[in-house]
Symmetry: C2
Subunit: 342 residues, 2 copies
């Protein structure tokens, strides 16, 4: 069965009246959508594309793929402390597969509804499978969380359990010894395919964190962006890194590889003054989200993060580097040890 | 030579301080860019992706491709009467080719500068060549040009000389008899590869046009969107259609195929009350842009446009249909007569 471009958008992505958020003054279907941030708010914008063979495997469940395409973008809003308003979708499809489209739209729009984020525009094209999303959110004037605000003396925090997505990816690649038990594989695969953007955490960190970033390319690599922008250094304490149940059962070198350089985590790394330690913990408790203090910000200028076993211990050799799409092999091919520098 | 993802963005797309528009409160390089529409303004958003083999040929000059990727999006802003503010770029590249990237960035950023439109965010990925752009603009509250505002009695207008892009495409496909002279090929190829978004026209039409759309899928097909949204009919007068120098030299059936169903024109089709005829002409003169009155809006509900040779003549059979990416063969393969309905 063949469907035209206009039918596709109408059938799968335009919501019936009364269903889903309606924030656009002019919605999906005119040349532009029109949105208005609330008074005193500025607009936060981010864009991310997902390409088959690079960001996802062709076997992925379409609902999970729809979820992830939006999740990785909402994660950027979260890192800025922005509240989601709407998003646009540019979808390139090799063919019109209605079962696939229905699943994709469900995963995408369910997550959109959860975050009150309206699909305000779209474009579909025939071509190799790729998904481009641009999200729009609002932040109070002067209230955006930046990478550049970390100060010497700040504590360094991370949300959730980074490393699970990479553990699942390595299980797919068959590089794990011992191999991953089925239950662990299912759980970590969910973390890889259905990351939860930390939108509520980002909102809670407004006025509390001094800097934040989301972990898409690996914890140490992304932390490096904060350090360079803020002109500070940081110590990360290996023994303070949060281990999920599944990572806790793995060899130590694998734990560190996955947590420090895994990528695809969509947790937030952030800095906050030590006198606000209790407030950070209270926020985590309120959100039901583990927030772990994993290090400290120091004076030295913009260098790579230093790794120590614990606060005050001697620095370890740091061989964990940032994930880079142009330097890594595709996820469908076996990779070298992800912790090895190129 | 291999460049990483972060280097790519920094090298080709981040402007030196003082060069290019600076409108973002937080620019390219943080998780989100932050923008603020001016007081009394709302935000207009549109997104379009260009995929190799579908929207452009692999042989296209990269500077022209960079120009076009932004132009087709600015054209959507123009159709809404929005002033460009900024845009995001999601670039998928099969490999890092520095000469290509330098050309692409030049074409893209030159057009961006011309329209005072800042690149506020980006994402690069390895994969099949594709370019996703999302543009953001501002429109006065209540002042957006819509597809739904056409009223019976309005005059129907088109800007410029639609049809040239399709003439060039058919020359590439080798379907033209007689074939196109070299000078005509170069000129129409420029129209296809470097369309000029009618941003200034869109701004001038605020408060003057009752409805507008940009011609991306063919004049009659796009006009059909206005008719359906506005609940009106329209007559298009074949003898009033503007013929460029190059189209004027072609057989009549080819002229009509290209103008009425060509697509890829990025001219504006709009409606305006007859008592404002002189104002429309004055706007065209001011902008140095041909604006042609090509028809009338009637009462009958949301049907396909009717074609007549001139006002009052009997309707002609209308075999021109909308361009549809999922129904058309790719531009690299010969197509049937573009005017034939499937």
């Amino acid at each position: 069965m063949s469907l035209g471009e206009f039918d596709l958008i109408a059938k799968y992505f335009v919501r019936p009246a009364g269903q889903g958020p309606r924030r656009a003054v002019v919605g999906n279907g005119d040349d532009c959508a029109v949105l208005a941030p609330a008074a005193g708010m500025q607009l936060a914008v981010s864009t991310d594309a997902l390409v088959e063979g690079r960001h996802f495997l062709s076997t992925v469940d379409p609902a999970r793929l729809g979820h992830k395409a939006l999740a990785v973008n909402l994660s950027d809003l979260a890192a800025c402390g922005a509240r989601p308003l709407g998003f646009t979708l540019a979808l390139t499809l090799p063919r019109v597969d209605e079962a696939w489209l229905a699943g994709f739209a469900r995963g995408l729009l369910d997550l959109a509804d959860e975050h009150d984020c309206e699909l305000v525009g779209g474009d579909t094209t025939a071509g190799p499978l790729a998904i481009g999303v641009t999200v729009l959110g609002e932040v109070p004037v002067g209230g955006v969380l930046l990478r550049s605000g970390a100060r010497p003396g700040d504590e360094l925090w991370v949300s959730g359990h980074p490393g699970e997505a990479r553990l699942a990816l390595e299980a797919f690649r068959g590089t794990l010894h011992p191999s991953l038990p089925a239950e662990a594989f299912d759980a970590t695969r969910l973390a890889m395919e259905c990351p939860q953007p930390r939108v509520a955490l980002g909102l809670g960190l407004r006025g509390l964190a001094t800097a934040a970033i989301d972990v898409s390319d690996g914890l140490l690599g992304d932390l490096g962006h904060i350090l360079r922008r803020s002109g500070v250094s940081a110590d990360v304490f290996a023994d303070a890194l949060p281990l999920s149940r599944w990572l806790a059962a793995r060899p130590r070198h694998e734990q560190l590889d996955c947590i420090l350089a895994g990528g695809d985590d969509y947790e937030l790394v952030f800095t906050a003054p030590p006198e606000r330690h209790a407030e950070v913990l209270a926020l985590g408790a309120q959100l039901g989200l583990v927030l772990s203090r994993i290090g400290s910000v120091g004076h030295r200028d913009g260098s790579a993060p230093r790794l120590r076993l614990w606060e005050g211990a001697a620095p370890l050799a740091n061989r964990w580097v940032s994930f880079d799409h142009f330097r890594q092999p595709s996820p469908s091919t076996p990779a070298p040890n992800p912790g090895e520098a190129p």
